[in-house]
Symmetry: C3
Subunit: 499 residues, 3 copies
């Protein structure tokens, strides 16, 4: 039946219409089995642009309308639509996960380097995106390793004390690395009984995973399908804010939640059904009347008469002067996407001191911040006046300053707790993340300062007052204060049971 559908699909291209590209024989062969085995996967692809267009056709479009950034494409790939075989048999020698499968050299994991065959500019830009380094930035930073242990480690209670056991790899893959990316390596081969008889397959570590910084079996980093959901790779989906919400909704990075209560998000929710999410380039006013995440941070946006409002970027931070989440203080963006190289004056792998002073040599300078500010503000100006934009940014940058000040106050209280022995910190060579009071301090920046900044950046003010915003910044400092008083009183009574 599926096979009949394929015939019908091919028959559809009658001589009276210009000959459209067809799928390769290899892809047709894949579909003979996989179309029946996993119809959900295959039908997504059938609905994709990949299934309707060949790279050659894509290259014929005017440059500004192209969805393909290669100047040309290898001969064997140019004329057919982009099907199973085109991607899953690409670069077989680079892929350590390549295996023999019914006469083909196949790999399961599609990587940015595979995608770069047709989309090299985007992959290169993405290499400058912090996200592409998300695995190493987390796993090669000793402080963050300690942080992961304090969250994912299994705690147990023994001799009146709580202790930590290192988390299982499955736990990390199921939490932090789900977004940051796992290491996908071949760990051996396994023969399985399949519906088509016994077959051998590579056994992959860290699989499944679509984390943005995934370490791939060909040595590349990232997963395009984090945002360009397989196997449809719909630009509509990538441009809608739900995609970003997958990794940006929790209290640490509440971007989607803030967007929802912003006027922009409200317009999208109420009126977005009439927008056109498909065109390249994407025309402000005509295709959409309020931004989604992609408009401000990624897409090639133009005005109807052709002026480019923003060039397409997959680097993203080139539209961002400030890094406002994930670290203790807001600060200028790091120069290199590989942040594991950063050391502050105190020797910690952090872009600021514990006092908030920036580790400037690793961060972009004022001039570069100003350049990035202007690029982003040009997007704002497509709908708003200069005064509107400047007023908004003045508030936003005031909020960065205030949220940093509030974090410093919480830090001062924690330092006092360490100094007076109410908690164990750096001086005691102990984790700064594992005790209750340290976790309260972390929430001050990781949840509350972050949320307040986000709400300010994206005009979702409801979230910046009570919903993890200023209310909690203020309350948390008072709670740390009272905890310290109580713990110091307790300490004078009894000896502290160290962890």
């Amino acid at each position: 039946m599926r096979f009949l559908a394929l015939i019908a699909f091919l028959a559809f291209f009658s001589p009276s219409q210009p000959l459209a590209a067809g799928m390769s024989d290899a892809t047709a062969e894949c579909l003979e089995c996989h179309g029946t085995l996993a119809p959900g996967m295959v039908s997504s692809w059938e609905k994709s642009r990949h299934a309707r267009t060949s790279p050659e056709e894509g290259l014929k479009k005017p440059e500004i309308e192209r969805r393909i950034s290669a100047k040309d494409v290898p001969m064997g790939l140019a004329k057919n639509t982009v099907g199973c075989a085109e991607c899953h048999t690409l670069n077989p020698d680079k892929h350590s996960d390549t295996f023999e499968h019914n006469g083909y050299q196949v790999h399961t994991v599609i990587t940015p380097e595979d995608c770069a065959t047709c989309h090299p500019v985007e992959v290169k830009q993405y290499g400058q995106n912090l996200m592409s380094q998300a695995y190493g930035n987390l796993m090669k930073n000793s402080l963050y390793q300690d942080l992961m242990l304090s969250i994912n480690g299994v705690q147990f209670f023994q001799e009146g004390k709580t202790k930590f056991k290192a988390p299982a790899p499955e736990t990390n893959a199921d939490s932090c690395l789900s977004c940051h990316g796992t290491v996908v390596e071949v760990k051996g081969f396994d023969e399985r009984d399949t519906e088509m008889g016994a077959m051998e397959f590579p056994v992959l570590s860290g699989w499944p995973n679509e984390g943005v910084g995934r370490i791939n079996p060909d040595g590349s980093k990232g997963s395009c399908s984090s945002c360009h959901t397989w196997h449809r790779f719909s630009i509509e989906m990538a441009r809608k804010p739900h995609t970003c919400s997958q990794c940006h909704k929790g209290p640490d990075v509440p971007i989607y939640k803030v967007y929802q209560v912003s006027k922009h998000g409200n317009i999208y929710a109420a009126m977005g059904k009439t927008w056109d999410f498909e065109p390249v380039p994407w025309t402000v006013g005509k295709d959409f009347t309020a931004p989604t995440c992609a408009v401000c941070h990624v897409s090639l946006v133009v005005k109807e008469e052709g002026e480019v409002v923003a060039e397409r970027t997959h680097q993203m931070n080139n539209r961002l002067p400030w890094r406002i989440f994930g670290l203790i203080y807001a600060h200028a963006h790091p120069k290199s996407p590989d942040t594991s190289v950063i050391k502050n004056k105190a020797g910690l792998p952090l872009p600021t001191e514990l006092s908030g002073d920036p580790a400037s040599e690793y961060l972009i300078d004022n001039q570069e911040q100003q350049n990035r500010r202007k690029v982003l503000q040009k997007v704002c100006r497509a709908c708003h006046t200069q005064q509107w934009v400047e007023g908004h940014w003045a508030r936003f940058e005031n909020t960065l300053k205030v949220s940093n000040e509030m974090t410093l106050t919480a830090t001062d209280l924690l330092v006092q707790a360490w100094d007076q022995g109410a908690a164990h910190g750096l001086a005691q060579n102990d984790s700064i993340f594992n005790e209750a009071i340290e976790k309260k301090w972390m929430e001050q920046w990781l949840f509350f300062a972050n949320s307040t900044r986000m709400s300010s950046a994206m005009l979702g003010t409801d979230y910046g007052v009570f919903d993890n915003g200023r209310w909690y910044m203020a309350k948390n400092i008072q709670e740390i204060h009272d905890w310290l008083r109580m713990m110091l009183a307790v300490k004078s009574d009894t000896s502290r049971d160290a962890k």
Copy 2:
């Protein structure tokens, strides 16, 4: 005007087209008044399949396409569409809420037993669903009764102590029983002035209510309209995830929230507008390209060439090996949907000991778990490879283990608090839910372990790290630890004021 619309409605069926079923005279009579009194209710019905189709027509469909599971339907009901009178005058003798109304024996409350006239298989399956027992499972479990008192009870402050007053019936109906179901009984009769003159109506307790375990005036349990929203009973609505969110969104069962940040939820949000939610059976790939709640847990799902991926079930737990929320520890599903029969070795009405050991005689065995695992995994396999599915399940079951271990640690700390007199528990013959520290312990499992498990089960990892997930599991243990230290110090000072 409504009446004219009815005439137009009837006139629509001209002789040139095959004669469609019409409404009964009795229903037409109902509509004469109620169409004007409550047009919102009536127009929902007018848009329903019930208003367009007779049972006889429904029975003519090929078996796999049927929305009606009766082999045949009582003569008097077969030929007309399913209108007001068809349901609200059904089984008058069984209904203690039957009353005389303009010459008809009418009842307000429609019950699963009424629906079983045409849908007996679904009603029977639902009787094996935990939900159908939701009232008794909560109200006939002494521990849960104490839990309800600790949440819904009115606290007051007297002589330096906080005390509890039992909640009003309205409070319970407005909270727990809203989802679990109320007891709907006739409490008397009341004469009212209506727009049609004075009329007498039964006075119902616990009304309105659409809880899944509602105790009905005919003795049956449940309310089909919990999910099949009256009076449209749209299968589209039941298949969309918003329906489930009504009872599954809070921190105790954050299913909808997790779904939203999962890739599945993102695909639904961005692309679901083009899916077809109406067909029976429901074809993966063709009708939808990512699951909603119903795909994995309820619906009859097929492949395009006809293979059945999953049989329709209203039992639901027959696709579920584990029970991952609502109790202290994750455990194998109970054998009987009536969980009020369970007693652990300690004599508590719980499916595990306080240490997490399962009360195995009441729970399904490994073999049955494996059967259920396979049924659910077959749905996964319609879009994913075997390795993908196995990798996902290995993480999920690791998460069950780890979240249970973390709950045990919190329990150990609480037991220590009880043992040392910092709180009052079972040994003191006191509630285990009423003190601050006990509530923190409850959050460890009821909110944080549950949320972490849900996020793992449904791939909404953002929710499993910071948003009520592992962050809170880890932090909560440390907070309980510090509270215990402080309270023991205070205790040595002053005598505890018992509650």
Copy 3:
């Protein structure tokens, strides 16, 4: 190109069709530049009813279908569509922000008084809405000023104590005043280099802002575009619940969140795509089958045969007997929308005593409550039976009572803390909002009682049990209780460091 589009737009009106109104010459002149500068803004307007209809045409409609409430409209405005110039050059003498711009007397800020030219009834009603007074009700209430300081103030740690610095104006504008409204005044003039050469513009304080109680440069209060989003002013958007979520989603007023988990919200989410949000009047059953916020609280709702279910109101509280959020206790609505006039017996600017007793002389009486109850219940009755509605309201009003009782218990504990010196309150002439324990008390009413009431009012019971509901009301009292015990013990040890 934009200019060509305008010509095409005008050419569209050929003689063969009835002559539709066109834009004024002045508006055409605005668009020559602004169409290119800010196409997002302009294209929203182009899609608006304002761009298609003249006031004269609007006045020709039957009264019940009118979107314009003026009896007639000034001559110069009647015949053209409502474009840039029509609003932005209106009432130049009243606007202190008027400036000369290419030969026109223009102002940036459009105010309710401007809108009243065509929509006077709505503006007058809105003047009776609490929202129109939202700025003064917050800023002229000494207690709320202290509350704002305690949330927005910058805390710092000095000599072992936490201290507060007053917040910057940008902080207030970015948080509370974002919804409550800023004061927009001309602070001077500024010459800027624009794409059209050097030009002078007024410098506005508090800009941008669309808060509901904004103080405008013409002395009027409010911003119609809070809900009627510029420049499309779509009634569809105002009628959808996302609009309200912008200020009503946080834990203090979780209206949208509760709606989402209510059956009404579920029906909207699943089936609302087929509803018609444009018609005036709005017909229950025909245009929609479940309420959005606007149905119950604002819109002109009718039955299909013409009966008016609810008159349009922009006062909103005339459908509301109770004020259930924002204050310590639920209470009858205040008589005047200007609540800064209220003083309770203790001399505090609150509508109740700290004990919950109402400051009755400032509040509507039972009779007026009953009138308002009936108005709102008539909307319920368009879909529900009388017994349904009465059962629901009995639960709701029980929840008001219980949530008030729980708040009183928390207050009793706080008073004890003040009396025993564990915290500093009114008697010590200290803020009642700045300490950790006071913030816990505030959450009792501002978050937990509010959320519980909302969930009850709007049938989103999932939110009223665990998600900031009764669970937290119960737990918070126990936590305050334990905190008090610990702090009193600490106090006996060491002297309290005052803030």
